[in-house]
Protein backbone atom coordinates (compact mmCIF):
# COMPACT_ATOMS: atom_id res chain seq x y z
CA UNK A 1 0.00 0.00 0.00
CA UNK A 2 1.48 3.30 -1.01
CA UNK A 3 0.34 6.87 -1.28
CA UNK A 4 0.61 6.59 -5.04
CA UNK A 5 -1.70 3.62 -5.27
CA UNK A 6 -4.22 5.40 -3.05
CA UNK A 7 -4.10 8.49 -5.21
CA UNK A 8 -4.44 6.51 -8.38
CA UNK A 9 -7.47 4.68 -7.04
CA UNK A 10 -8.97 7.99 -6.00
CA UNK A 11 -8.29 9.47 -9.41
CA UNK A 12 -10.12 6.66 -11.16
CA UNK A 13 -12.97 6.28 -8.72
CA UNK A 14 -13.68 9.58 -6.98
CA UNK A 15 -17.16 10.03 -8.50
CA UNK A 16 -18.17 6.65 -7.13
CA UNK A 17 -16.83 7.53 -3.66
CA UNK A 18 -18.53 10.89 -3.67
CA UNK A 19 -21.83 9.33 -4.68
CA UNK A 20 -21.46 6.76 -1.93
CA UNK A 21 -20.68 9.40 0.68
CA UNK A 22 -23.61 11.45 -0.53
CA UNK A 23 -26.00 8.52 -0.12
CA UNK A 24 -24.54 7.74 3.31
CA UNK A 25 -25.09 11.32 4.45
CA UNK A 26 -28.58 11.42 3.02
CA UNK A 27 -29.58 8.21 4.78
CA UNK A 28 -28.01 9.32 8.06
CA UNK A 29 -29.65 12.74 8.06
CA UNK A 30 -33.11 11.59 6.96
CA UNK A 31 -33.08 8.65 9.36
CA UNK A 32 -31.94 10.73 12.30
CA UNK A 33 -34.67 13.29 11.72
CA UNK A 34 -37.40 10.71 11.12
CA UNK A 35 -36.12 8.62 14.03
CA UNK A 36 -36.15 11.64 16.34
CA UNK A 37 -39.74 12.35 15.33
CA UNK A 38 -40.69 8.72 15.98
CA UNK A 39 -38.96 8.98 19.36
CA UNK A 40 -40.79 12.21 20.21
CA UNK A 41 -44.10 10.64 19.26
CA UNK A 42 -43.53 7.55 21.37
CA UNK A 43 -42.17 9.56 24.30
CA UNK A 44 -45.26 11.78 24.26
CA UNK A 45 -47.62 8.81 23.93
CA UNK A 46 -45.97 7.13 26.89
CA UNK A 47 -46.41 10.17 29.13
CA UNK A 48 -50.02 11.14 28.42
CA UNK A 49 -51.70 11.15 31.83
CA UNK A 50 -54.30 8.39 31.98
CA UNK A 51 -57.65 8.88 33.54
CA UNK A 52 -58.67 5.51 34.88
CA UNK A 53 -61.25 3.34 33.21
CA UNK A 54 -62.13 5.53 30.25
CA UNK A 55 -62.37 4.11 26.75
CA UNK A 56 -59.61 6.45 25.59
CA UNK A 57 -57.24 5.17 28.22
CA UNK A 58 -57.76 1.57 27.11
CA UNK A 59 -57.01 2.47 23.49
CA UNK A 60 -53.96 4.43 24.57
CA UNK A 61 -52.72 1.54 26.65
CA UNK A 62 -52.98 -0.85 23.70
CA UNK A 63 -51.14 1.59 21.42
CA UNK A 64 -48.44 2.00 24.05
CA UNK A 65 -47.97 -1.75 24.38
CA UNK A 66 -47.50 -2.02 20.62
CA UNK A 67 -45.01 0.85 20.70
CA UNK A 68 -43.09 -0.79 23.54
CA UNK A 69 -42.85 -4.03 21.59
CA UNK A 70 -41.48 -2.10 18.61
CA UNK A 71 -38.86 -0.41 20.81
CA UNK A 72 -37.74 -3.70 22.36
CA UNK A 73 -37.53 -5.50 19.01
CA UNK A 74 -35.49 -2.83 17.29
CA UNK A 75 -33.17 -2.24 20.24
CA UNK A 76 -32.72 -5.94 20.79
CA UNK A 77 -31.68 -7.06 17.30
CA UNK A 78 -28.74 -6.15 15.04
CA UNK A 79 -29.50 -3.60 12.35
CA UNK A 80 -27.90 -5.79 9.69
CA UNK A 81 -30.49 -8.49 10.45
CA UNK A 82 -33.33 -5.93 10.53
CA UNK A 83 -32.29 -4.74 7.07
CA UNK A 84 -32.49 -8.28 5.67
CA UNK A 85 -35.81 -9.03 7.36
CA UNK A 86 -37.45 -5.77 6.27
CA UNK A 87 -36.16 -5.80 2.69
CA UNK A 88 -36.62 -9.49 1.90
CA UNK A 89 -39.68 -9.78 4.09
CA UNK A 90 -41.46 -7.12 2.06
CA UNK A 91 -40.05 -8.54 -1.18
CA UNK A 92 -41.62 -11.90 -0.28
CA UNK A 93 -45.01 -10.22 -0.64
CA UNK A 94 -44.14 -9.32 -4.21
CA UNK A 95 -43.15 -5.71 -3.57
CA UNK A 96 -39.52 -4.88 -4.19
CA UNK A 97 -38.69 -1.70 -2.40
CA UNK A 98 -36.27 0.88 -3.61
CA UNK A 99 -33.12 -0.02 -1.64
CA UNK A 100 -32.54 3.58 -0.60
CA UNK A 101 -36.05 3.83 0.84
CA UNK A 102 -35.63 0.48 2.57
CA UNK A 103 -32.34 1.72 4.03
CA UNK A 104 -33.89 4.93 5.37
CA UNK A 105 -36.78 2.92 6.78
CA UNK A 106 -34.56 0.51 8.69
CA UNK A 107 -32.21 3.13 10.10
CA UNK A 108 -35.16 5.40 11.03
CA UNK A 109 -36.95 2.62 12.88
CA UNK A 110 -33.73 1.76 14.65
CA UNK A 111 -33.08 5.38 15.61
CA UNK A 112 -36.67 5.85 16.72
CA UNK A 113 -36.40 2.93 19.12
CA UNK A 114 -33.37 4.48 20.80
CA UNK A 115 -34.68 8.05 20.77
CA UNK A 116 -37.98 7.00 22.37
CA UNK A 117 -36.18 6.22 25.60
CA UNK A 118 -34.24 9.48 25.58
CA UNK A 119 -37.42 11.46 24.98
CA UNK A 120 -39.33 9.65 27.70
CA UNK A 121 -36.46 10.31 30.10
CA UNK A 122 -36.33 13.93 28.96
CA UNK A 123 -40.04 14.43 29.57
CA UNK A 124 -40.10 12.91 33.04
CA UNK A 125 -36.99 14.85 34.03
CA UNK A 126 -38.79 18.21 33.65
CA UNK A 127 -39.92 19.29 37.10
CA UNK A 128 -43.54 18.63 37.96
CA UNK A 129 -43.87 22.30 38.86
CA UNK A 130 -43.73 23.44 35.25
CA UNK A 131 -46.59 21.11 34.33
CA UNK A 132 -48.57 22.44 37.26
CA UNK A 133 -47.87 26.05 36.34
CA UNK A 134 -49.04 25.37 32.78
CA UNK A 135 -52.10 23.57 34.08
CA UNK A 136 -52.82 26.38 36.51
CA UNK A 137 -53.00 28.97 33.73
CA UNK A 138 -55.45 26.76 31.87
CA UNK A 139 -53.31 25.00 29.29
CA UNK A 140 -54.36 21.51 28.23
CA UNK A 141 -51.89 18.63 28.03
CA UNK A 142 -51.23 19.19 24.34
CA UNK A 143 -50.54 22.92 24.78
CA UNK A 144 -48.30 22.21 27.75
CA UNK A 145 -46.29 19.77 25.67
CA UNK A 146 -45.93 22.05 22.66
CA UNK A 147 -45.25 25.34 24.42
CA UNK A 148 -43.46 24.31 27.59
CA UNK A 149 -42.20 20.75 27.81
CA UNK A 150 -41.09 19.63 24.35
CA UNK A 151 -38.92 22.67 23.60
CA UNK A 152 -36.95 21.81 26.72
CA UNK A 153 -36.91 18.10 25.93
CA UNK A 154 -35.65 18.75 22.41
CA UNK A 155 -32.85 20.90 23.77
CA UNK A 156 -31.97 18.18 26.28
CA UNK A 157 -31.94 15.34 23.77
CA UNK A 158 -29.91 17.26 21.21
CA UNK A 159 -26.61 15.67 22.30
CA UNK A 160 -28.18 12.20 22.09
CA UNK A 161 -29.55 13.04 18.65
CA UNK A 162 -26.09 14.13 17.59
CA UNK A 163 -24.64 10.85 18.77
CA UNK A 164 -27.32 9.05 16.87
CA UNK A 165 -26.46 10.97 13.69
CA UNK A 166 -22.83 9.96 14.04
CA UNK A 167 -23.80 6.34 14.66
CA UNK A 168 -26.07 6.41 11.63
CA UNK A 169 -23.31 7.75 9.39
CA UNK A 170 -21.17 4.78 10.43
CA UNK A 171 -23.75 2.05 10.86
CA UNK A 172 -25.52 2.68 7.57
CA UNK A 173 -22.57 0.72 6.16
CA UNK A 174 -24.47 -2.46 7.01
CA UNK A 175 -27.08 -1.49 4.43
CA UNK A 176 -24.68 -2.72 1.76
CA UNK A 177 -26.16 -6.17 2.49
CA UNK A 178 -29.32 -5.05 0.75
CA UNK A 179 -27.28 -3.31 -1.96
CA UNK A 180 -27.83 0.27 -0.89
CA UNK A 181 -25.16 2.17 -2.81
CA UNK A 182 -23.70 4.01 0.16
CA UNK A 183 -20.04 4.62 0.90
CA UNK A 184 -19.12 1.13 2.07
CA UNK A 185 -20.80 -0.30 -0.99
CA UNK A 186 -18.75 2.04 -3.19
CA UNK A 187 -15.57 0.95 -1.46
CA UNK A 188 -16.33 -2.73 -1.97
CA UNK A 189 -17.18 -2.12 -5.63
CA UNK A 190 -13.85 -0.40 -6.11
CA UNK A 191 -12.10 -3.21 -4.27
CA UNK A 192 -13.80 -5.76 -6.48
CA UNK A 193 -12.82 -3.91 -9.65
CA UNK A 194 -9.21 -3.17 -8.72
CA UNK A 195 -8.39 -6.35 -6.77
CA UNK A 196 -6.96 -4.12 -4.09
CA UNK A 197 -8.43 -4.07 -0.61
CA UNK A 198 -6.49 -1.97 1.82
CA UNK A 199 -6.57 1.21 -0.25
CA UNK A 200 -10.25 1.37 -1.20
CA UNK A 201 -11.31 0.79 2.39
CA UNK A 202 -8.75 3.20 3.81
CA UNK A 203 -10.18 5.88 1.55
CA UNK A 204 -13.69 5.06 2.79
CA UNK A 205 -12.40 5.15 6.35
CA UNK A 206 -11.05 8.67 5.94
CA UNK A 207 -14.27 9.83 4.32
CA UNK A 208 -16.34 8.42 7.20
CA UNK A 209 -14.10 10.20 9.65
CA UNK A 210 -14.50 13.52 7.85
CA UNK A 211 -18.28 13.17 7.86
CA UNK A 212 -18.58 12.21 11.52
CA UNK A 213 -16.20 14.96 12.58
CA UNK A 214 -18.14 17.55 10.59
CA UNK A 215 -21.39 16.29 12.10
CA UNK A 216 -20.15 16.57 15.68
CA UNK A 217 -18.85 20.10 15.09
CA UNK A 218 -22.12 21.14 13.50
CA UNK A 219 -24.11 19.82 16.45
CA UNK A 220 -21.93 21.58 18.96
CA UNK A 221 -22.53 24.79 17.08
CA UNK A 222 -26.27 24.14 17.02
CA UNK A 223 -26.37 23.54 20.76
CA UNK A 224 -24.60 26.82 21.46
CA UNK A 225 -26.93 28.62 19.10
CA UNK A 226 -30.02 27.19 20.81
CA UNK A 227 -28.82 28.19 24.25
CA UNK A 228 -28.70 31.81 23.19
CA UNK A 229 -26.46 34.42 24.76
CA UNK A 230 -25.29 33.66 28.28
CA UNK A 231 -26.28 37.10 29.51
CA UNK A 232 -29.32 39.22 28.86
CA UNK A 233 -29.43 42.85 27.93
CA UNK A 234 -31.56 45.29 29.77
CA UNK A 235 -34.34 46.66 27.73
CA UNK A 236 -37.06 49.15 28.39
CA UNK A 237 -40.61 48.12 27.76
CA UNK A 238 -41.24 50.47 24.89
CA UNK A 239 -38.73 48.84 22.57
CA UNK A 240 -40.66 45.59 22.60
CA UNK A 241 -44.32 46.37 22.25
Amino acid sequence: MSLESILSILQDNWPSYLRGAYITLLIAIFSTIIGALIGLFIGVMHTIPLRKKSFKSVVLKIINIILSVYVEVFRGTPMIVQAMVVFYGIAAYGYVMDTFIAGVLVVSLNTGAYMAEYVRGGIVSIEKGQYEAAEAIGMNHFQTMIHVILPQVIRNILPATGNQLIMNIKDSAVLSVISVTELYFSASSVAGATFKFAEPYLIACIMYLIMTFAASQLLRFLEKKLDGPSDYNFQTGKEVA
Binding site: E132, E135, I137, G138, M139, H147, Y232, F234, T236, V240
Partner: protein
Protein backbone atom coordinates in the same frame (compact mmCIF):
# COMPACT_ATOMS: atom_id res chain seq x y z
CA UNK B 1 -70.40 41.04 49.91
CA UNK B 2 -70.07 39.14 46.67
CA UNK B 3 -68.31 35.83 47.15
CA UNK B 4 -65.74 35.02 44.50
CA UNK B 5 -65.15 31.50 45.73
CA UNK B 6 -67.38 29.62 48.10
CA UNK B 7 -66.23 26.27 49.42
CA UNK B 8 -68.71 23.90 51.00
CA UNK B 9 -68.01 20.70 52.89
CA UNK B 10 -64.76 20.09 51.05
CA UNK B 11 -63.02 16.78 51.72
CA UNK B 12 -59.76 15.44 50.42
CA UNK B 13 -58.10 12.11 51.11
CA UNK B 14 -54.92 10.62 49.77
CA UNK B 15 -55.66 6.91 49.95
CA UNK B 16 -57.15 6.54 53.40
CA UNK B 17 -55.29 9.56 54.78
CA UNK B 18 -57.86 12.29 55.32
CA UNK B 19 -56.09 15.59 54.67
CA UNK B 20 -59.08 17.95 54.52
CA UNK B 21 -62.24 17.38 56.51
CA UNK B 22 -65.44 19.30 55.91
CA UNK B 23 -63.78 22.59 55.05
CA UNK B 24 -66.20 25.50 54.64
CA UNK B 25 -65.06 28.96 53.77
CA UNK B 26 -65.31 31.67 51.19
CA UNK B 27 -63.37 34.57 49.78
CA UNK B 28 -65.19 37.79 48.98
CA UNK B 29 -64.33 40.16 46.18
CA UNK B 30 -61.45 42.43 47.15
CA UNK B 31 -60.75 40.48 50.29
CA UNK B 32 -57.27 39.40 51.40
CA UNK B 33 -57.36 36.14 53.31
CA UNK B 34 -54.33 34.48 54.88
CA UNK B 35 -54.26 30.78 55.59
CA UNK B 36 -52.01 29.80 58.47
CA UNK B 37 -51.32 26.60 60.33
CA UNK B 38 -48.56 24.17 61.14
CA UNK B 39 -46.77 22.07 58.56
CA UNK B 40 -48.92 19.25 57.22
CA UNK B 41 -52.19 20.85 58.31
CA UNK B 42 -53.47 20.84 54.71
CA UNK B 43 -53.03 24.46 53.63
CA UNK B 44 -51.36 23.67 50.31
CA UNK B 45 -53.79 20.87 49.67
CA UNK B 46 -56.70 23.26 50.17
CA UNK B 47 -55.20 25.78 47.76
CA UNK B 48 -54.46 23.07 45.23
CA UNK B 49 -57.98 21.72 45.52
CA UNK B 50 -59.34 25.18 44.79
CA UNK B 51 -57.69 25.29 41.38
CA UNK B 52 -58.09 21.53 40.92
CA UNK B 53 -54.42 20.63 40.83
CA UNK B 54 -55.76 18.09 43.30
CA UNK B 55 -59.17 16.57 42.79
CA UNK B 56 -61.31 16.97 45.92
CA UNK B 57 -62.84 13.78 47.27
CA UNK B 58 -66.10 15.50 48.11
CA UNK B 59 -67.88 18.80 48.62
CA UNK B 60 -68.54 21.80 46.42
CA UNK B 61 -66.55 24.68 45.04
CA UNK B 62 -68.92 27.42 43.95
CA UNK B 63 -67.62 29.95 41.46
CA UNK B 64 -70.02 32.50 39.91
CA UNK B 65 -72.95 30.51 41.21
CA UNK B 66 -71.86 27.22 39.68
CA UNK B 67 -70.34 24.18 41.30
CA UNK B 68 -67.18 23.63 39.34
CA UNK B 69 -66.93 20.07 40.60
CA UNK B 70 -69.94 19.18 38.48
CA UNK B 71 -68.84 16.63 35.94
CA UNK B 72 -69.45 18.70 32.85
CA UNK B 73 -67.92 21.92 34.09
CA UNK B 74 -65.12 23.41 31.98
CA UNK B 75 -62.17 23.14 34.34
CA UNK B 76 -59.64 24.89 32.14
CA UNK B 77 -61.87 27.88 31.63
CA UNK B 78 -62.34 28.10 35.40
CA UNK B 79 -58.60 27.88 36.05
CA UNK B 80 -57.88 30.94 33.96
CA UNK B 81 -59.83 32.95 36.55
CA UNK B 82 -57.42 31.92 39.31
CA UNK B 83 -53.85 33.15 39.39
CA UNK B 84 -51.58 30.68 41.12
CA UNK B 85 -48.20 31.56 42.62
CA UNK B 86 -46.11 28.59 43.74
CA UNK B 87 -43.48 28.26 46.41
CA UNK B 88 -40.92 27.21 43.79
CA UNK B 89 -41.90 29.82 41.16
CA UNK B 90 -42.31 27.20 38.41
CA UNK B 91 -41.44 29.56 35.59
CA UNK B 92 -41.26 28.07 32.11
CA UNK B 93 -37.53 27.53 31.66
CA UNK B 94 -37.65 27.58 27.87
CA UNK B 95 -39.12 31.08 27.73
CA UNK B 96 -37.71 34.45 28.67
CA UNK B 97 -39.41 36.69 31.20
CA UNK B 98 -41.73 38.38 28.73
CA UNK B 99 -42.76 35.14 27.01
CA UNK B 100 -43.50 33.57 30.39
CA UNK B 101 -46.15 36.23 30.89
CA UNK B 102 -47.40 36.11 27.30
CA UNK B 103 -47.71 32.45 26.37
CA UNK B 104 -50.78 31.73 28.50
CA UNK B 105 -52.58 34.86 27.37
CA UNK B 106 -51.97 33.97 23.73
CA UNK B 107 -52.59 30.24 23.80
CA UNK B 108 -55.30 29.99 26.44
CA UNK B 109 -57.07 33.36 26.39
CA UNK B 110 -56.42 33.74 22.63
CA UNK B 111 -55.28 37.33 23.04
CA UNK B 112 -53.28 38.84 20.20
CA UNK B 113 -49.52 39.03 20.59
CA UNK B 114 -49.55 42.82 20.80
CA UNK B 115 -52.28 42.89 23.42
CA UNK B 116 -50.65 40.12 25.43
CA UNK B 117 -47.26 41.83 25.41
CA UNK B 118 -48.69 45.17 26.39
CA UNK B 119 -50.56 43.56 29.24
CA UNK B 120 -47.51 41.55 30.34
CA UNK B 121 -45.35 44.66 30.35
CA UNK B 122 -47.89 46.46 32.48
CA UNK B 123 -47.63 43.82 35.19
CA UNK B 124 -43.89 43.30 34.82
CA UNK B 125 -43.54 47.00 35.49
CA UNK B 126 -45.73 46.72 38.58
CA UNK B 127 -43.53 43.96 40.00
CA UNK B 128 -40.41 45.84 38.92
CA UNK B 129 -39.20 43.29 36.41
CA UNK B 130 -39.83 45.17 33.16
CA UNK B 131 -36.10 45.67 32.64
CA UNK B 132 -35.53 41.93 32.52
CA UNK B 133 -37.91 40.91 29.75
CA UNK B 134 -35.09 39.25 27.78
CA UNK B 135 -33.71 37.25 30.67
CA UNK B 136 -34.19 33.51 30.96
CA UNK B 137 -35.40 32.20 34.35
CA UNK B 138 -31.99 30.60 34.96
CA UNK B 139 -30.46 34.07 34.93
CA UNK B 140 -32.65 35.45 37.72
CA UNK B 141 -32.49 35.38 41.50
CA UNK B 142 -35.24 33.68 43.48
CA UNK B 143 -36.94 36.94 44.39
CA UNK B 144 -36.87 38.07 40.78
CA UNK B 145 -38.30 34.75 39.62
CA UNK B 146 -41.13 34.99 42.09
CA UNK B 147 -41.96 38.53 40.99
CA UNK B 148 -42.09 37.33 37.37
CA UNK B 149 -44.32 34.45 38.46
CA UNK B 150 -46.65 36.97 40.10
CA UNK B 151 -46.71 39.05 36.91
CA UNK B 152 -47.41 35.92 34.88
CA UNK B 153 -50.42 35.10 37.06
CA UNK B 154 -51.69 38.70 36.99
CA UNK B 155 -51.36 38.85 33.19
CA UNK B 156 -54.17 36.32 32.91
CA UNK B 157 -56.51 38.88 34.56
CA UNK B 158 -57.65 36.50 37.31
CA UNK B 159 -60.47 37.14 39.75
CA UNK B 160 -58.45 35.72 42.64
CA UNK B 161 -54.76 35.34 43.27
CA UNK B 162 -53.69 32.21 45.13
CA UNK B 163 -50.28 32.24 46.82
CA UNK B 164 -48.75 29.09 48.28
CA UNK B 165 -45.94 30.19 50.59
CA UNK B 166 -44.49 32.53 47.97
CA UNK B 167 -41.48 33.48 50.10
CA UNK B 168 -40.60 30.17 51.72
CA UNK B 169 -38.04 29.15 49.10
CA UNK B 170 -36.32 32.53 49.15
CA UNK B 171 -33.13 33.64 50.83
CA UNK B 172 -34.02 36.02 53.68
CA UNK B 173 -32.76 39.11 51.87
CA UNK B 174 -35.19 38.50 49.01
CA UNK B 175 -38.31 37.96 51.05
CA UNK B 176 -38.88 41.69 51.40
CA UNK B 177 -39.08 42.50 47.69
CA UNK B 178 -41.76 39.86 47.13
CA UNK B 179 -43.80 40.84 50.18
CA UNK B 180 -43.62 44.46 49.04
CA UNK B 181 -45.19 43.54 45.72
CA UNK B 182 -47.89 41.52 47.47
CA UNK B 183 -48.62 44.33 49.88
CA UNK B 184 -49.09 46.65 46.92
CA UNK B 185 -51.47 44.21 45.24
CA UNK B 186 -53.46 43.94 48.45
CA UNK B 187 -53.68 47.72 48.73
CA UNK B 188 -54.95 47.95 45.16
CA UNK B 189 -57.96 45.85 46.06
CA UNK B 190 -56.99 42.53 44.48
CA UNK B 191 -58.68 39.46 45.84
CA UNK B 192 -56.01 37.30 47.40
CA UNK B 193 -55.78 33.99 49.23
CA UNK B 194 -52.34 33.56 50.77
CA UNK B 195 -50.79 30.57 52.49
CA UNK B 196 -47.97 31.97 54.56
CA UNK B 197 -45.73 31.54 57.56
CA UNK B 198 -44.97 35.28 57.61
CA UNK B 199 -47.14 36.22 60.59
CA UNK B 200 -46.16 39.87 60.68
CA UNK B 201 -47.02 40.25 57.01
CA UNK B 202 -50.29 38.35 57.37
CA UNK B 203 -51.30 40.59 60.23
CA UNK B 204 -50.64 43.72 58.20
CA UNK B 205 -52.30 42.89 54.89
CA UNK B 206 -55.09 40.47 55.72
CA UNK B 207 -58.74 41.27 56.14
CA UNK B 208 -59.17 37.82 57.56
CA UNK B 209 -56.99 35.07 58.98
CA UNK B 210 -57.94 31.41 58.68
CA UNK B 211 -56.19 29.01 61.03
CA UNK B 212 -56.09 25.36 59.99
CA UNK B 213 -55.05 22.36 61.99
CA UNK B 214 -55.08 18.70 60.97
CA UNK B 215 -57.28 19.32 57.95
CA UNK B 216 -59.98 21.41 59.60
CA UNK B 217 -60.52 25.13 59.96
CA UNK B 218 -60.23 25.78 63.67
CA UNK B 219 -60.70 29.49 63.79
CA UNK B 220 -61.13 32.44 61.48
CA UNK B 221 -61.61 36.15 61.82
CA UNK B 222 -59.84 39.49 61.53
CA UNK B 223 -56.12 39.51 62.40
CA UNK B 224 -56.82 41.50 65.55
CA UNK B 225 -58.83 38.56 66.80
CA UNK B 226 -57.11 35.42 65.51
CA UNK B 227 -53.54 36.60 65.91
CA UNK B 228 -53.86 38.83 68.94
CA UNK B 229 -56.66 37.35 70.89
CA UNK B 230 -57.23 33.75 69.72
CA UNK B 231 -60.20 31.86 71.09
CA UNK B 232 -59.03 28.30 70.65
CA UNK B 233 -56.29 26.46 72.47
CA UNK B 234 -54.89 25.00 69.29
CA UNK B 235 -54.54 28.50 67.79
CA UNK B 236 -52.87 29.80 70.94
CA UNK B 237 -50.46 26.91 70.96
CA UNK B 238 -49.59 27.38 67.27
CA UNK B 239 -48.99 31.08 67.72
CA UNK B 240 -46.86 30.53 70.79
CA UNK B 241 -44.76 28.04 68.87
CA UNK B 242 -44.29 30.22 65.78
CA UNK B 243 -43.62 33.44 67.66
CA UNK B 244 -40.95 31.74 69.74
CA UNK B 245 -38.95 30.93 66.61
Amino acid sequence: MEKVIDIKHLNKSFGNHEVLRDVNFSVAKGEVVSLIGSSGSGKSTLLRCINLLETPSGGEIIYKGENILDRNHDVRQYRTHLGMVFQNFNLFNNHNVLKNCVVGQQKVLKRSKAEAEENALKYLEIVGMDKYINAKPSQLSGGQKQRVAIARALSMSPDVMLFDEPTSALDPEMVGEVLKVMRMLADEGNTMLIVTHEMEFAKEVSDRIVFMDKGVIVEEGPPSQVLVNPQHDRTKEFLKRTLKQ
